[in-house]
Symmetry: C2
């Protein structure tokens, strides 16, 4: 990168004003007389001047950039959340630096530290674990954080979610009312807050409430083939209804059932707890807990803008309504 061709100084000289005045014009400061403003704007247009955001960032200590932490880039769940975030970010003129954690969990601190070093004004965090080290870094730099589609035990971090316990209970209830009594739950990482403190307790409570002794909790089932391979176990265990966190995993189970010549929903009902486009294009289509992912992202980003501007927010833990969308993987009543 060579030296910038036209700077605020050039504009100031051409418009016969000081840099300060040009700066005021750029930033829409009202303390500029109309004629002056117009003269400066004319020069800006003539020279095609574009402010250097890095210099602005250094001087103003605001970068109009937010960080986005996402577990995987190729997961539509996060992509749909991101879209909501992106739209609102664009609206408020923030750029997004995206960082994926993928499976390299050990690198998480570094990735986030690098984001913080870039002086992002705020962070939207979608990863499902928030290590102490990271939490401290956020607090130390005073960077506001909003969790989107995930939760944390520390209540201090704002979050936008649905009521996972209620949703799961409702889903289990649906299958139970369909006559399925041998219900199971399939999750990925059992230690995330969403799973450990929400989904699994909801499942256990449901069993207790219905006097079912035998619990079927399958953990570390993360992807399509994990799901595909799980079915033989489900069959062996006599499971007749299952709630699956990730829809791709659910599709794995679904295909495995079909390939085994069994029937869905007769032999097995499936409900997925996080539905993306994939859940709706497979046949039979999956009954889903439909989370308003786009809205969740949008609300999270909007909340972040408020936090970044020290505006009032009423309640930092937002729960949006979900919908239990009955499709072909459960019985039609």
């Amino acid at each position: 990168m060579h030296k910038q061709e036209v700077t605020i100084y050039d504009v100031a000289r051409e418009a016969k004003v000081s840099m300060a005045t040009v700066s005021r014009v750029i930033n829409g400061n009202s303390n500029v007389r109309k004629e002056t403003r117009e003269r400066v704007e004319a020069v800006i247009n003539r020279l095609h001047y574009q402010p250097n955001a890095v210099a602005q960032g250094l001087a103003s200590k605001k970068t109009t950039t937010v960080g986005l932490i996402v577990p995987e880039l190729t997961n539509l769940y996060f992509a749909e959340l991101s879209k909501g975030i992106d739209d609102i970010a664009l609206l408020y003129k923030y750029n997004i630096i995206i960082s994926s954690i993928e499976n390299r969990l050990m690198k998480e601190d570094e990735v986030i530290q690098s984001l913080l070093n870039k002086q992002v004004d705020g962070v939207i965090y979608m990863s499902n674990r928030l290590p102490d080290k990271v939490a401290n870094a956020f607090k130390q730099t005073n960077t506001p954080v909003v969790l989107a589609g995930t939760k944390d035990n520390r209540d201090e971090f704002a979050s936008v979610t649905i009521d996972y316990q209620k949703a799961d209970t409702e889903a289990l209830n649906l299958m139970y009312n369909d006559g399925k009594k041998n219900l199971a739950i399939v999750v990925g990482d059992p230690d995330t807050v969403v799973n450990k403190d929400n989904r699994i307790p909801a499942y256990r409570k449901f069993l207790a409430d219905h006097d079912i002794a035998e619990e079927h909790i399958y953990t570390k089932i993360n992807n399509y083939s994990d799901g595909y391979n799980l079915y033989s176990q489900l069959e062996k265990d006599g499971v007749d209804g299952v709630i699956v966190t990730r829809d791709v995993t659910a599709v794995g189970i679904l295909n495995s059932v079909m390939d085994a010549g069994k029937n869905i929903p007769k032999d097995l009902e499936i409900i997925t707890a996080s539905a993306t486009q994939i859940a709706s294009v497979v046949r039979p289509a999956l009954t889903t807990i439909k989370q308003p992912l786009y809205d969740m992202g949008a609300v999270a980003m909007r909340m972040l803008t408020k936090l970044m501007n020290n505006e009032e927010v009423d309640g930092i833990h937002v729960q949006l309504p979900y919908e239990l969308l009955k499709k072909q993987s459960t019985l039609n009543q």
Copy 2:
């Protein structure tokens, strides 16, 4: 953002050296004696000093940040490319600012200008149109650009693709040899370079080479429901084999065929030209032109690192090998 707590100046004072020396230590400059380096590093660790990347960027005119232009966030095609990009970016310690164009095409210039104002060191461009205005902005700021998974008529922009013409021809050939003579092609925007100058010409040439007079080119078919609704037309037109750009669109057609009680591949063969996970989880699974998306992203990013460092690159137009992956939407021979 309040004033930074610990700066390079604090480290210098504590370590009893000048800022310049601390800077050298941070940047791995070898002109520092071992003991001095260690002393400085000790102070850095003790104070938990983290360099301010914005200040570094202003002073060095390098931000170690690249821009990523993607048409849609919720399209797995770009997500898989992005993953390859992200991995290499992490390796070379670049951050990624992502900007989606979505459908708001009129905003494209602004979005990219904002990226350029942030002084990104380079750009990976995945959108399928590169307006003059944008191209000029890149050239003016001297920002290297690499197109990934897309092409441009201006040969000056580096690109990483597959041989679309060859791939499509091979796909058409496969169906032709299966006895399908009424072949069609389904694309989204017919004016993108990939479609206008590659896919459609390849299709036309194929027809000409096989003395087929009647051409079936369906354009502006962009998503699942467009695909779903298209089938009645395909049927009316007697199409018995179709190559579909986007796999989600292909799945729309697929489901429509099934719902109509027809058989795939007997009544209609389908090959999709850009396969993501979706193509492989639907049943019948789609025969696909398998693009090495991850690798394409990785190669594009690696090339960009070279361009950003003014290193030699041999050939700025890279074509990676693809694979014609036969699944259930074409006959098994």
